[in-house]
């Protein structure tokens, strides 16, 4: 599932649950964890316990939300229980009700009511995220068909008459027997009160957890919610653990004196004729013109598109493929899905927004001819029905990537076209992760910040993303201490509990009717964004279709590059018409020369390229997918390389005789018998271990949840056991499973890899043939990719392109191409100047008809404020005016920052200026200032100033490494570009150093890492002594570090101000690696994390 950052932590029931006989009692007051920080047992636990206790139906009533109903619905049905869907409403005036809709319409009204409360505050303003304001009037307006049960409070006797008058649906008062001492008296009192108003009492146990032993967790949740500690919480906590799920028999014993209270629960539950499955999903109809059905329209568009794609006529193969796919689409009743995506893609294309689809259904011929994708399916052996299976009732999956700078336009188009009441973003449920769990639980348990962060680092470090591997002894934490042990136990229970809802990166759902009748919609923290309460798993569960509108930086870059090619070189291309199978392009990739290229630009990929030596498109598909933890952990990389080079025979393990000996050849043939893709791994489970599609699904979900949970172990036994039983080699079986384990976190499906591989090819082609245009487009699409502008510029200069500095008389906002000799030179744009606003730059460009002759001329005409001019001066952008950086700064300082009124016109009130001779700026300071203002320097590399001294000390240069013999001991110094410690590399740290001649790759083994930890973490200029290591096959060289020295002090010599050279965007020390726990899901990377590997 590569489309959203964090994995779902959903637990799900498996196993057999024979139906229970009809019980005399139904629990309706159930709080799940989606009443955030209130319920302490998830849906699976509640459903399983309810089944074991003999219930036949189970209610759900979360506080002012429907966010948890789908999960309870799904789990209850798995446990053979009838889910009764409702919610708990709390009015702004404090009254609380359990609300259970009788039918679909009443459910719609309830959702509308919640939407109103979540979208608008009481003054009809924009509601803050997470609040829900409902008044009695609102409730009365939306209560038709909703069965209301009032939850008593002290004010009820006074208020009840009014409530009964306003709310005809109010028939019951909820009563609980919670061992509070006065239960009998209270229930009798409420019973009398109910009778007096013609109501009845209704028994509930106010369930907050499935079993009494969850009370500690619930108490801790209360503390987190109220922002207190367990020692201070006092009466905020319940006195006992009675609010658990009790059996109908137990409830009958407690309510023996009030049988009608039990009977009432049955009445209410039986009157609920509503199931979430009734939320029949209707596609928007806009895409189907009158007189057509969706299927006929899709067919029409498909054949029209096919004629456009294949102007030379359709081959028999394509025709058959299209007919077959259209047939499946018709069977699955999803033509509208394709039409809707087609409409969006068409619109985007009309606006000049580049986009590309990917995902299982996207690699179909239909998508190709409709223009959703650009990979010709006839050239790839990707079979459509492998991804949309007829028997599996799963929605198809198409993600569409748009240019990252213009995705918002697409989102707004969707809102405009379908209306905000019909289009909504999905939610993402933010779950407690090990670190957040230990941190918040620790705080609630009264532990200090020191202790909790130490705990988070040690006990949980291996699951988190920490750089620290310090064990608990080092951190001074005694894990045998009962408080610590308890905290850890509670935190473990807390992991996976939902924490809050957030908006999904780009998952839209579109409906024909009003969306708020299906699911409540709430406001996001971002202005003008709202999202529904269900996440994508919920939507999948209900069979509602989602369209992922995602952002991809490389598409922006490619579109800009297409524009440059058209304008400067007169070459008009798009994704589908790039010349295929271009030899020089593959030659370039084989050299590992891939700075800036999509996906394969990371150091690990760069090292892989010379070994994999891609020569055709499918090699790129493999290249994209192979440098991932999945294949790496499964140890699939080296066998693949060996077999591809023919150094090892292709070998397909086969099962014992009764089974088809070639069954794995069918699955793994394309990859020389080595499973590389997620689909292959799952397919092995299904074919070689005979997993049913349900079991395979459970396997996929178990992978997505945490590895500590027991289910994985049982599935491993199951799979490995079955494979061995069918005659497979135990070692092979285990390796297969290991790989699936890796896929759980960073799986990479072939269906996505194909679409990505196209972008790899396109960007490589551009880099190969038009390096100037490609670098220019890259710079104009920042921030994106792996490298900082400094490295992109350096790379393009190495490819012989002239790069010209920022200049007020020549630069546009974006970087541009300028004619130079026969070709083009790259002129850096004003956007490179740190801190300069776009608006100021635009103003400057508008008035630049003739070149500016002086600083005051520029200030006068462009009406720039002093700050903007000073920024330009500091960036040395006045070269064409004959002003050095220092002179420009001195002049800029003298300009008045005043409104342009006649009185303030530049005059020299103070008298004539005496020329001041400022000291000339030495080159090294120029370079430092360049880095500070532009983050790159065209003048020199900082290391060049140190070279003389370094050479004297017998340091080698990065460029010399290629000529040195293997195993040679050497010393090297350079600026630190990237520091990475991939999870799959067993603690090995990779560092890339840069000097004026090139880059050098260091490998730091854990032992060395331990002794030079501080140097590695802090040094910006590093000096390393080590041994050269060269891979004979690919010629890739590394320096294996023995000792490292921090020489950042040398940078101070260049300029006595602090100078910090820019790091690559992928550096894990400064920018934490894009692992699941980091950051908001809204900002999550769309591309699955590429974890580096050596």
């Amino acid at each position: 599932m590569p489309d959203s950052g964090p994995k779902s932590l959903r637990k799900s029931l498996t196993g057999a649950f024979p139906p229970n006989p009809r019980a005399g009692y139904v629990e309706l007051g159930v709080t799940t964890p989606f009443s955030f920080l209130r319920g302490a047992s998830d849906a699976a636990e509640l459903a399983a316990t309810a089944h074991a206790l003999g219930y036949d139906a189970l209610g759900v009533a979360d506080l002012n939300t429907m966010a948890g109903v789908v999960r309870l619905h799904a789990e209850a049905r798995r446990a053979n229980l009838r889910p009764v869907i409702g919610c708990r409403l709390r009015l702004v005036t404090g009254e609380e009700f359990l609300a259970y809709p009788r039918d679909r319409d009443a459910y719609g009204r309830l959702c509308t009511l919640l939407t109103k409360g979540k979208r608008q505050d009481l003054d009809e303003g924009w509601q803050a995220k997470g609040l829900c304001d409902i008044t009695l009037d609102d409730l009365a307006c939306h209560a038709e068909g909703v069965q209301l049960i009032v939850v008593p409070d002290a004010a009820l006797p006074r208020r009840l008459a009014e409530l009964v008058r306003c709310l005809p649906g109010l028939r019951h008062i909820a009563v609980s027997y919670l061992y509070q001492g006065d239960d009998r008296a209270r229930i009798n009192r409420l019973d009398r009160l109910a009778r007096a108003h013609g109501l009845s009492i209704l028994a509930t146990n106010d369930v907050h957890y499935h079993a009494p032993d969850r009370r500690p967790l619930q108490d801790v949740m209360t503390c987190i919610r109220e922002g207190t500690t367990i020692h201070r919480a006092g009466f905020l906590l319940a006195a006992n653990a009675e609010r658990h799920l009790k059996s109908p028999a137990e409830m009958a014993r407690l309510f023996a004196d009030w049988p009608h209270a039990l009977q009432a629960t049955r009445t209410v539950a039986d009157a609920c004729n509503f199931s979430l499955q009734e939320l029949a999903y209707h596609y928007p109809q806009e895409t189907v013109p009158p007189g057509e059905t969706a299927q006929s329209q899709l067919e029409k568009l498909t054949w029209a598109g096919a004629a456009r794609r294949y102007p030379a006529g359709l081959s028999q193969k394509v025709r058959e493929l299209l007919v077959k796919e259209l047939h499946i689409i018709g069977l699955k009743k999803i033509p509208q899905y394709f039409l809707t995506i087609h409409e969006i893609v068409l619109w985007a294309r009309a606006q000049g927004i580049l986009c590309q689809g990917r995902g299982s259904a996207a690699n179909s011929a239909v998508c190709f001819v409709l223009g959703i994708t650009s990979v010709d399916p006839t050239e790839q052996e990707l079979l459509f029905e492998r991804f949309i299976s007829i028997d599996r009732d799963e929605p198809p999956d198409i993600d569409v990537d748009f240019e990252h700078e213009r995705r918002e336009e697409v989102i707004q188009h969707i809102y405009e076209k379908y209306g905000r009441h019909r289009a909504g973003l999905c939610a993402t449920v933010i779950h407690y992760r090990p670190r957040s769990a230990i941190r918040e639980v620790g705080k609630a348990m009264g532990l200090s910040e020191d202790v909790t962060s130490a705990l988070a680092k040690t006990v949980w470090g291996s699951w988190g993303t920490s750089m620290g591997e310090a064990n608990s002894r080092e951190a001074g934490i005694d894990l045998t201490d009962p408080l610590m042990a308890r905290t850890i136990r509670l935190a473990e229970q807390m992991i996976g509990m939902p924490r809050h809802l957030s908006q999904h990166v780009g998952g839209f759902i579109l409906t024909e009717e009003s969306l708020h009748q299906t699911v409540p919609i709430g406001n996001a923290a971002m202005p003008d964004r709202s999202f529904i309460e269900w996440d994508k798993d919920d939507i999948d569960e209900l069979g509602i279709l989602k369209i992922d509108v995602l952002a991809l930086g490389m598409l922006t870059c490619i579109r800009k590059c297409f524009g440059l090619l058209k304008n400067h070189y007169g070459v008009d291309l798009d994704l589908a018409t790039i010349p295929p199978d271009d030899e020089p392009t593959y030659d370039m990739l084989c050299r590992g020369d891939s700075v800036g290229v999509f996906q394969v630009e990371s150091r690990a990929q760069m090292n892989m390229l010379p070994r994999l030596k891609p020569r055709r498109f499918y090699d790129l598909v493999v290249e994209v997918a192979i440098v991932r933890p999945g294949p790496i952990q499964g140890d699939m990389v080296h066998p693949y390389l060996r077999r591809r080079d023919g150094r090892e025979p292709e070998d397909y393990p086969s099962p014992a005789p009764p089974h088809d000996p070639d069954e794995l050849r069918h699955i793994l043939g394309r990859t020389y018998g080595v499973p590389i893709f997620q689909e292959q791994a799952m397919k092995i489970a299904m074919v070689a271990a005979e997993f049913s599609s349900q079991e395979a699904n459970a396997l996929r979900k178990a992978m997505a949840t945490f590895r500590s949970r027991g289910t994985i172990g049982t599935l491993e036994e199951l799979m490995v056991g079955r494979m061995i039983a069918r005659g497979y080699d135990p070692d092979f079986a285990r390796r297969c499973f290991d790989q699936i384990k890796g896929f759980g976190d960073y799986g990479f499906p072939e269906s996505h890899a194909v679409s990505f591989a196209l972008l790899v090819y396109v960007s490589s082609w551009m880099k190969c043939h038009y390096p100037a245009a490609f670098a220019c487009a890259l710079l104009n699409s920042q921030p994106m990719g792996f490298y900082a502008p400094a490295q992109i510029v350096r790379d393009v200069r190495e490819h012989g392109v002239e790069v010209r500095p920022v200049d007020v008389n020549f630069s546009e906002w974006d970087s541009t191409l300028e004619p130079a000799g026969g070709g083009f030179a790259l002129r850096l744009g004003l956007r490179q100047v740190d801190g300069l606003g776009r608006e100021a730059a635009e103003r400057l460009l508008r008035v630049r008809e003739d070149p500016f002759t002086s600083l005051s001329d520029l200030a006068l005409h462009a009406r720039l404020n002093g700050r903007a001019i000073r920024l330009l001066a500091a960036a040395d952008a006045f070269g064409s005016l004959g002003l050095t950086r220092r002179a420009a700064l001195w002049e800029a300082r003298a300009l008045r920052d005043a409104p342009d009124l006649p009185l303030f016109r530049p005059g020299q009130d103070e008298g004539e200026e005496t020329p001041v001779a400022l000291p000339a700026m030495p080159l090294c300071e120029q370079v430092v200032a360049d880095y500070q203002t532009l983050r790159l320097s065209l003048k020199a590399h900082p290391m060049a100033f140190l070279r003389a001294s370094l050479t004297r000390q017998r340091f080698v240069r990065a460029a010399d490494l290629a000529a040195l013999p293997n195993n040679r001991r050497l010393s090297l110094a350079g600026l630190v570009l990237v520091r990475q410690r991939p999870g799959s590399a067993k603690g090995v740290c990779f560092i890339t150093l840069e000097d004026e001649t090139g880059v050098a790759n260091l490998v730091v083994w854990p032992k060395v890492m331990a002794s030079f930890r501080k140097v590695i973490m802090t040094a910006r200029l590093m000096q390393v002594t080590g041994r050269l290591q060269r891979d004979p096959a690919s010629g890739v060289t590394h320096v294996v570090a023995d000792s490292l020295v921090d020489r950042s002090d040398v940078l101070l010599r260049l300029s006595d101000r602090g100078f910090t050279p820019p790091l690559s965007r992928a550096d894990e020390v400064r920018h934490s690696i894009p692992a699941p726990t980091q950051g908001h899901p809204r900002n999550a990377r769309i591309i699955p994390g590429s974890r580096d590997f050596h």
Binding site: Q180, G181, F235, A475, D1056, R1057
Partner: protein
């Protein structure tokens, strides 16, 4: 007072400088030190700036020592403030600095760098207050002292004319450094004719600099912010001397409108004395004290007490303050001094009450041959506005309690007094605790103002007493029980109220309690509980206890 014989050369230059008219000598002084003369101007003042580079960390360390857990010097320690993205390092000790920890970085980043880094919360407000107290403490050298916490921490003293009291300027600076180090602060003092120059020298000049040359100091020493310093560096102006050589007009045109922290010209003028920057000290807190000087020695001070109390309370009322501590000092004719102290639970300036607090203890004074001076002081005071308790003019009942507490405390000692306070706990014996009467922060105690939902008995036995109970197994109410060898037959009951153990406090295996309110045939009401359930797996048959008696 030391002689001037041993005074340094520098001291000689002081004399020249302080004579306004001797411009020729000044020129000689300035030019001799490479300073352009045109900028220098007489201030006639001698300003000492003391830099306390480690003030927050040293203050924290001192606090730790006082609390009995002195932090080890060799462990990296940091103080943090809340930043937008989590804690940010505010101060560090030497070990942390050696480990590479930087001030201003995020704690999480620094932890990654130095896993053993300990962190505590910084207290910038407390630091500021402490620095101001320290400024008052520094009055021992001269009357004009201020705290300087605009950038970093430091003190500024105007020692013009007071150095001879401390053995000359050099000796005075050494004395300051020594005295501050006794307090636990490392300090770098420097002396110059202006605040700006002294500030610069203290931080960037030689050790204990006296009027040293400021021209070679970096422009950072001008108290400029980072942006201004960066600009000057980009312009190639790195030393104060370089800046001072520039034409005034050019500088003025470029920086005229900038605020002081960004304006090199203003800072330069402050350094050279063109712009005055006087040291205007804070006032020390007022002393409240009333004296009775007696013509003849007397043996009994009680007649004078009411008048003294009235006088003291008058002073307090004028300052809108009330006293928390009261001290009566009696100066005997034979030179002996006796003191009586009393304290108030709430700030007070009620003469009658104060007199009452002292009256009973007067007999503890040994009058000897009599005394001739009685002094009543209020060493600790707090703000106390004039209040009106209610419109009817009735007494403030809270005040009456406070006065009762004071009187009892005077007589029996504070330790003898306690007040029962409610604690928010469901477990009955934990629901109250003994606390200092009227202790501060009682209102913020957990659960203050909350009460358990169910009724509690008037009398709770300190230790629940086991009773023999007849009841319907498993969960039935008690029917009959035997307590202290008497049988009681239960006529009525209410319950059970189930109270589970506090899992975070109680030992594992502690059993829950089911409380019953029962009434026997004679109308006595008891509070019984059954400890545990039959099937809870935490011991055998549940036992019964009597925990309280209702009135």
């Amino acid at each position: 007072m030391g002689t001037n014989e041993s005074d340094s050369r520098c001291h000689g230059s002081v004399r020249i400088l302080s004579k306004d008219s001797n411009a020729v000598a000044l020129r000689g002084w300035a030019v001799g030190r490479g300073l352009p003369f045109h900028g220098w101007r007489m201030t006639g003042r001698r300003i000492v700036s003391v830099w306390l580079p480690e003030f927050p960390m040293e203050r924290w360390q001192r606090g730790q020592v006082r609390m009995g857990n002195p932090p080890p010097e060799d462990l990296p320690q940091a103080l943090t403030t809340e930043g937008t993205h989590g804690p940010v390092i505010h101060a560090i000790n030497r070990a942390a600095r050696l480990a590479g920890v930087e001030i201003g970085a995020r704690l999480a980043d620094m932890r990654a760098l130095c896993p053993t880094l300990k962190a505590d919360f910084a207290d910038p407000e407390g630091d500021r207050a402490a620095l101001h107290r320290l400024a008052l403490w520094a009055r021992r050298w001269c009357p004009w002292t201020v705290a300087d916490d605009e950038i970093g921490h430091g003190l500024v003293l105007d020692t013009t004319g007071s150095d001879h009291l401390h053995g000359g300027e050099a000796a005075m600076l050494a004395g300051m450094e020594a005295a501050l180090s006794i307090l636990g602060h490392s300090a770098r003092p420097a002396l110059a004719p202006t605040w700006g120059a002294a500030w610069a020298l203290a931080r960037f000049g030689p050790v204990r600099a006296i009027c040293a040359d400021t021209a070679p100091l970096p422009v950072t020493a001008l108290r400029l912010d980072a942006e201004a310093v960066l600009l000057l560096h980009r312009l190639g102006l790195r030393r104060i001397g370089q800046l001072a050589e520039l034409p005034r007009l050019s500088l003025a045109r470029r920086f005229a409108r900038a605020a002081a922290a960004q304006n090199p010209l203003i800072r330069l003028d402050q350094l050279t004395g063109h712009l005055p920057e006087p040291v205007s000290p804070l006032q020390a807190p007022p002393v409240f004290r009333a004296d009775a000087r007696l013509a003849e020695p007397i043996l009994d001070p009680s007649h004078h007490l009411p008048e003294l109390c009235r006088a003291l309370c008058g002073q307090l009322a004028q300052a809108h303050r009330g006293l928390r501590r009261l001290r009566l000092v009696i100066y005997r004719t034979d030179g002996e001094v006796s003191r009586i102290e009393a304290a108030c639970a709430l700030p007070s300036r009620d003469p009658a009450h104060l007199a009452f607090l002292l009256r009973d203890r007067l007999d503890r004074i040994d009058p000897g041959f009599g005394f001739d001076l009685i002094s009543l002081e209020a060493p600790v005071t707090e703000a106390l506005a004039t209040t009106q308790a209610d419109l009817a003019g009735g007494k403030d009942t809270g005040l009456a309690l406070a006065q009762l507490v004071d009187r009892l405390a005077v007589r029996f000692g504070r330790k003898a007094l306690s007040e029962l306070q409610a604690v928010a706990s469901h477990v009955p014996e934990r629901a109250e605790c003994k606390a200092q009467p009227l202790a501060r922060g009682a209102a913020s105690r957990p659960g203050a103002g909350l009460a358990p939902r169910a009724e509690r008995p008037q009398r709770l036995l300190d230790h629940p007493e086991e009773v023999q109970v007849l009841y319907a197994v498993p969960e039935g109410p008690p029917a009959q029980f035997q307590w202290r060898r008497r049988h009681y037959r239960v006529a009525r009951y209410q319950g059970p109220e189930r109270i589970a153990p506090e899992w975070w406090k109680d030992r594992p295996g502690t059993r829950l309690r089911d409380y019953f309110k029962v009434e026997d045939e004679a109308g006595h009401r008891f509070w019984l509980y059954r400890e545990g359930l039959h099937d809870d797996g935490r011991g055998g048959t549940p036992r019964w206890f009597l925990h309280g008696i209702f009135a």
